[in-house]
Symmetry: D3
Subunit: 327 residues, 6 copies
């Protein structure tokens, strides 16, 4: 790589390592930062507008007084990507992290000479950092485990706002790390016993030819979740949002997780029991294939290439807590 | 002030404005940072050990692999205070903010050349920043308002860990900001309808000569809460942890909030209704007086002096969201 | 007006002011009176049969042993309206209040010389009393506020029976009266966090071209709610009963309240946030226009005319508690 | 009886049969009337002050703007009793019903020529009307039955305010009326499965020598409940408020109901199972005896005398719904 | 009957009376036995495959390590029926009870000389034993009563697994036995207040021409439930799974119970109130008629013939607890 | 051993292997069998009366019409032990399993020639079968893990009745078996997030010198639980029943499980975190020592001797599901 990556930070571009948030920022005091994490296919950001619209719904609801309109934010995003192109390999894809908070609290204005403004951050780093460690799941499948930790009901902490108050995701990951299976990921139920989401991903099952995903209540409504429901319908597959119970997952024909980073990963076991025949199912495959076609990238092949390129992947799987590596 | 304040940050002391956390830190990704905010009386940190023990309970539960033992952390705290003394006025008190997170996620190790370590921050700033805007409440009393937002049950998000996943506090403040009363603060009920806490403070009522505070379940168990229960008992006042309903608050004889920053503030109205005769009550006064004696500082007088010194206080009350100032 | 209004009361017609219920009536002892409040357009009662059917569902469920069949009740209603015609202006519309209870409790039979019978009341008064104070909302829009008070789950107190045990509506109004906005009305959520209803009205949102209203569970199923769903479908607008969250309201394109009295009023803010562009939306307008056509009355114009005619409207808005006027 | 009874009604004394509330009163529109029902022993009102204090707590919480202070209300009560003395037999006791509501709604001010004021009613009738039908329970014991209907959690409808929104009591009575046992009364559990109260009475059990009654949460905190806890303690009996489960009742040694009207009635069966040996237990007897001593009236004997005097008692038991009589 | 009935028990055929399970079996220790109860029409097992598939879903979820595959189990079933034919009258139908548990616990292996294997039982007895006592319900209709006992949420005890942990069914039956009506059966609500199921049967209502049955959440998903939804759709009747409230049942046009044993029985009263006109409704009749046609058996006539044949039926109705017979 | 063990079964004594329950018994149909499992110390049954009293509370609540009074049952128990003495080693202790159900359902009376009676079983086998596999826990400590499965609220399934509807215990064990730690046992929370019990044991923590155990609500109230609370009090240790949260366990000083079989076993980890210093604590030790003294048996030594004697213990730990052995 010939050049270091830069991060947009309130009007400036700073080196990645210097992209930091003041300890006096509301993002840290209240965890009330909204954010988005996107990715490109062939260098083109996928569903960027949908990401930004969700970001702005969070900004509205949290009443963060930023001055940038959504189109200006979009321009900043594009500028950041442009700026960083030299720092990426030709084979790389761009993963953007967009953070917005209301900035330092007024109480601490002395620290900032009275100048307080919302915090806007746009980072751009290679998708491979996130997905390289996940390539083997296309073969192994994710092994979902339902921990004690429940998804928090939206009325207590609004999961539909993509925000930074997510200690419970870490708790779920810590609990599932007790299971000595490197493929185990947390799948959270909500207090009603309905499947909610992974710790950073949405969940789908295939049941008698239908594609089902939990109702958009106590979960983040993922951009890929919407894309997949839409894709399925375009392919003539009945697709529905529905309350899903653990029982439905155990007896489903297929299951998978989706996220902006990895697109789609098969889920082949639930609490130790095989889902269907314990392998990636035909509808999962079909959706992945059609998705690859639509974005012009063989998602599986690309992910595997990333894994090969990166090499040592220990501890980099964000969807699980590895006792050995971190403790 | 002759010298700038410095913040301890992973082994270094950096200027306050430079005290920042990487956007790749788990504290921001998962909101899973634990912290403490202390204060001194006459320059001496009050209940510091209790603060640190709570910090380390959070560190244990979140499995943050820091290398500093509690005594080493205490030494770092003392060093930070020592270092900052020249930057404080003689009349100032020291407010410490201690932050600990597991540091940047392994996924982003490239940003840090593979060097990942937990994040430890100790900031030291004047208590007056926090409390100056609160002086008038000793006269006016806080007007508690119970918003829609509920305290989150501990089993979903452990309130007893002082952590950074607190978007719901901001939500509560946003909701109460609809009430056009500059003295209105949020008082959260939990889903069972029991009083929990303020957005950063504990709550007490006086009922027929008894001091009552909510059971330590869905709340942060404040160091001052424990101190007050203990102080009351030493004064021969029956003091109990008990489920408290809104009804009990409405018909209480007295009520008050407590926190490490402001110690104790009378709460004189609840949802527009006067508590008792609508003024600071005798037991509240007595506890405040005894507390002042024990720490050798007239808490009310000192707070009023801070208010006078600071002057313009608009927007600096952390316990409420001011529409005019922030939006 | 040339003649005083009369109220049907168990076989007699009495002056309005004399229309009273014994303090020994079950309606007061248990709040178990069922009732309906209707209105006319151009003097013709609208959806009267639907009102009476709902009344009789309540009578069945509460096992009130009235002797009048539904057709006899309908005849009594018509007779009451006929009787009162001379007391109404030509421009007036008739608002009926029909009350039915099981009558005085047997325990108090001595008071009534042993003669106990169910209580049936039919009052007829001008619609303008109720709606005149609401005319300005066609311009301003209602500003919904979600108070602490929740809609009571139907299994504890059956909201689908239109009954007189509604202290919680008053509680909700008292709580919202803390918000110093003359346009603020309570919008109740149920304990699951789903939008339920106003304190005497139903609620709708428009989302991506669809008309949505809460499932008919913890709410009164309004006659106008059914009418509007039906009207929308006749107009080719997709219309659905669905669990609606606060999030959905905040990010809806339009919203409105409906009731038998005012028909439909735009809701333009929720907890201080603008819904859509903060004005009455096009679908709301269209539904109101079509409704006006179907009943042959320009609903907005008529309501404004009533407002003009009545003059001083202070304190007469039944959907909110006005601190100044009542306390 | 030489004279008819009179009821105090907003400044006037009217014949009992004329004691009525306008259909436009908030008491009927919202069920938000507070009330008390007292009784005398030997003509002297028992715990009157406690009744009035509870009344005024309700008035405060519902923000009913009455002008009478509590002492003035007490004077009115005394005057009403005085006024009615001639209408009572020497053997009679006085049962007072005190009703307070905010009066007719402003919307209906035309009906009242613009004169709106809170409604205050004080009725005075013989205790025997209420208790005569209950005399046999001193022998038979009440047979408690737990219906589907639950006590409503206080946060949804505040049971501690003695108010008129009590359709759920009627529902509970209707459900229990399916049990073909003339001694069956409803005993309500709350949604957590804890025993709450009867439909107009409190509940106690005796367990290993201790007197236990449900915590004062989802129930009316009866004046007799407080009296009994106090009486027990004065007699050296350990007495406690505690969460009580159905299991505890089934396996209790004794149980009883209390109310202002009947004082105390043994409960000898629960859902068909005998409690203890199925008869009034020794502690129940002792409490009743001591109570009788303290008020100078043999409560059992007096109630039996009332029953004899009244004769036909069919349908007058307010604590149960009798299918035959009412339907 | 010329021959005694035999029961398949782990490879052997034993006399019916000898068909017993060791007290050391997990079925008794944990109640974790799965089972099915089927019936024939004209000697042909109805929906046998569906029964077995449900059985194997339970086996999977409970991780019972049986060696028989589903087809082998089917063969065993057929063999058992074949074997028992001589012991049945020509008019008889076969009711099979298939039980599977993981067998004796390893802790007790000494009792079994170390030989532990899952327990598989297939019994075959006349359908008339179960249904004879139910014939009169085709005329009388079942009178549903909703007891205190709730259906257990699936996340606590999975109702969709047909298992032997059903003490709560017995509790519900015990509670309903207080109602002195020989036709009263328990209808369980779940904790959300939604109708769930009978104690061994599913429930349907007819509402405005639609067939509705509770969502398949906190209930056993009956084979007949699926059959009826399907049958209705084939007949052009709209049929839906939906949350049903007590209110919906009270005001339904028709209602009925279904089970494998009795197929379908009208439900004509709910908590004492007539459903529709209190008789079997036309859609219920039609479904029963079509069902009879499809299986080639007049279900009503056959059941009545069984009743006649059996004679004394006291105490044999499994859906209710009869105080007189059993206690 | 010179003689085979016999089991009391409805009046007869049968060989252990023949101790079986009819598949038509209500115990299997409804899981409504009550039972007790006791043990001796030095051949003397410990707390036998307490066991029998609990048994009879269950019999009462489930309305099982057995004819044996509690004293007769006690005599049967003694006779069974006497009868089996020759079949036990001198070093053995007697473990009794007492089962009572209402017997075969009336529906199946043909199988039993019309003779139906409750089922009463008393088995007597060596304590070592149960406890031998647990000896190593005195050194290793149990590692508690909180699975998804919750304790069922008592109002849905009465945990205080020791009954056979316990599939959820097996579910909890299945879930915890995913954790690859041979010392991991399930510790169930109830839906409120409070610690309930193990799958067949009670739970205690030591906190600042106090002995705490969960309130006796959603748990079996163990005979050893009562004994330990009592023992502690006799030793001057404050001992209390209290709501305990996961947080309290994580930060407790000590913890242990208790049961009739193993008496007391230290719990040294919770969800992978050490409790206290991760070893059996001093108060746990003291209680165990005092208990040993009171019963005249060194409990630890005896258990270790049993383990040595038995040898191969694989799969015999009833408190956990071992994947390898059973699947």
């Amino acid at each position: 790589m010939q050049k270091e990556r830069l991060v947009y930070l309130n009007g400036d571009f700073v080196p990645e390592k210097e992209a930091r948030i003041s300890i006096f920022d509301s993002a840290l005091m209240f965890g009330d930062m909204v954010f988005e994490m996107t990715r490109s296919f062939n260098g083109k950001q996928f569903l960027l507008r949908e990401h930004l619209e969700r970001l702005y719904r969070g900004i509205k609801q949290l009443q963060i007084p930023i001055k940038e309109k959504i189109s200006e934010m979009e321009a900043l995003v594009e500028k950041t990507v442009e700026m960083n192109k030299p720092a990426f390999l030709a084979t790389d894809e761009h993963r953007l992290m967009i953070n917005v908070s209301r900035g330092p609290l007024a109480m601490y204005r002395m620290v900032f000479d009275g100048k307080l403004e919302p915090t806007v951050v746009i980072a751009d780093f290679p998708v491979k950092w996130t997905v390289a460690s996940l390539a083997h799941f296309f073969d192994d499948g994710v092994h979902a485990v339902t921990p004690l930790q429940r998804a928090i009901p939206a009325q207590y902490l609004e999961a539909k706002i993509k925000n930074r108050s997510r200690m419970h995701y870490m708790m779920a990951n810590l609990q599932v790390s007790l299971v000595d299976d490197p493929n185990a990921w947390a799948l959270l139920l909500d207090p009603d016993g309905f499947v909610a989401e992974g710790t950073g991903s949405n969940f789908f099952i295939v049941q008698a030819g239908k594609l089902l995903t939990p109702e958009g209540r106590n979960i983040l409504r993922g951009t890929r979740r919407a894309y997949l429901l839409n894709l399925a319908r375009r392919l003539g597959i009945p697709a529905e949002e529905k309350n899903i119970e653990l029982y439905d997952v155990i007896h489903a024909d297929e299951a998978f997780f989706s996220s902006a980073a990895f697109s789609l990963l098969p889920c082949t076991r639930i609490n130790g029991l095989a889902i269907g025949d314990g392998k990636m199912g035909p509808m999962t495959k079909r959706l992945l294939t059609e998705w690859s076609k639509e974005v012009g990238v063989d998602i599986v092949a690309q992910t595997r290439a990333f894994a090969k390129e990166v090499g040592d992947l220990s501890g980099t799987n964000i969807y699980r807590f590895e006792r050995k590596n971190n403790q």
